[in-house]
């Protein structure tokens, strides 16, 4: 190869490299960190029902069929963006949708749900956020799919959208339901 071409080849390679970098950056959310909990047993929890501290909900109570846990809070503004989607899809998921009220005052959460509507089968309240650390929660809203054996199958960080539900969540739910039999 003619040595004179070397600088041009190097330049072309750099253009390709930077181009790939730009494209990758545009389609990549730096806030998205894959959860190390996927494929592992969901952490054990024992939390009160929202507004009814006498009633506890434990992980063992929910075993036996797949379910979704949606982490939300009345102070979380992205949760407000997500809320209409949850209202629309809650009955279409085919599995129960459980609300996880994260670091919130119970009264605020109840008001928020009465104003915006309640898409959840039941809501558990983690006022201190201590159990949420075990779930690796770092930014509401977050959604977990837990299978019949109590294993976390899928996690979405940030608001669910119709696209995410169709492309990721629904296939994951089907897979979790099918290996139950």
């Amino acid at each position: 190869m003619n040595a004179r071409l070397v600088p041009f080849v190097v330049f072309a390679l750099l253009v390709v490299l930077f181009g790939v970098g730009i494209v990758w950056n545009e389609h990549h959310d730096p806030n998205y960190v894959p959860s190390p909990l996927i494929g592992k047993a969901a952490p054990a929890f024992d939390l009160p029902r929202l507004g009814d501290t006498a009633q506890r909900v434990r992980k063992t109570d929910l075993l036996g069929k797949p379910y979704l846990i949606n982490v939300f809070a009345s102070w979380c503004f992205a949760c407000g963006d997500e809320h209409p989607i949850l209202m629309e899809y809650a009955s279409k998921f085919g599995v129960p949708l459980i609300g996880y009220d994260y670091k919130d005052k119970p009264a605020d959460a109840k008001l928020w749900l009465s104003q915006h509507g309640n898409p959840y089968r039941q809501v558990i309240a983690d006022e201190s956020g201590a159990t949420a650390i075990d779930f690796g929660v770092y930014g509401a809203p977050e959604t977990f799919l837990v299978d019949a054996q109590g294993v976390i199958r899928y996690k979405h960080i940030g608001p669910l959208t119709a696209d995410v539900i169709a492309q990721e969540l629904e296939p994951a739910i089907k897979a979790a339901q099918s290996d139950k039999q």
Partner: protein, 192 residues
């Protein structure tokens, strides 16, 4: 969702305070002693007091560590406090990802600092505490990525590239040195 949106989605303990302070007009009061309408004498005295104020402020910031400024934890002794600060400065806050757990004001960072503090009281080692966090938030919480199959490129690509570049430069220089010695006989015209 951008980092800013996520940050805004979490309650900041300082947000309300900052807004209130701005309303009370502290900024105006700080600026007023330097306005030129004052007599030269008064201006000198006031300007000097401003300097004392600034120096005192700088000294306070130089001495206080971020974690202590945010939430004082009841450390048993200085050694424990230093160990805590060293450990938390090596860990990333998942909410504001360019901040360490030591420096971050995010609510989650505060919770995790308390958790780490509790684990220290229970006699957990730094390694055990890091494992606890990695199990929940992945290797991303560590500013120093561990060496494993998925990070081999991260660790070895930079020295490999430097080595490859060095070899290329060496070869080119050797090539150039040879024709230079016999430049008179070089008729190919390849002067690269």
């Amino acid at each position: 969702m951008t980092a800013i949106e996520r940050f805004l989605a979490l309650p900041s303990p300082l947000a309300g305070e900052g807004a209130r302070r701005a309303d009370e007009g502290d900024c105006d009061r700080l600026r007023s002693p330097l306005t030129p309408t004052l007599s030269p004498q008064g201006r000198g005295r006031k300007a000097r007091s401003i300097w004392y104020f600034l120096i005192a402020g700088l000294l306070i910031f130089a001495v206080a560590s971020p974690a202590l400024a945010i939430d004082p934890l009841p450390f048993k002794n200085d050694a424990q406090r230093e160990r805590f600060q060293h450990l938390t400065s090596q860990l990333r806050c998942m909410v504001c990802q360019n901040e360490s757990l030591d420096a971050s004001n995010a609510d989650l960072a505060k919770d995790l600092r308390h958790q780490i503090f509790e684990m220290m009281q229970q006699g957990k080692t730094d390694q055990q505490i890091k494992q606890y966090l990695v199990a929940r938030y992945s290797d991303f919480v560590l500013y120093d990525p561990p060496l494993k199959a998925s990070t081999v490129a991260l660790w070895f690509a930079p020295p490999a590239l430097v080595l490859a570049g060095g070899i290329v430069v060496f070869v080119l220089l050797r090539k150039r040195a040879k024709p230079a010695a016999q430049i008179a006989t070089n008729e190919a015209g390849d002067d690269w």
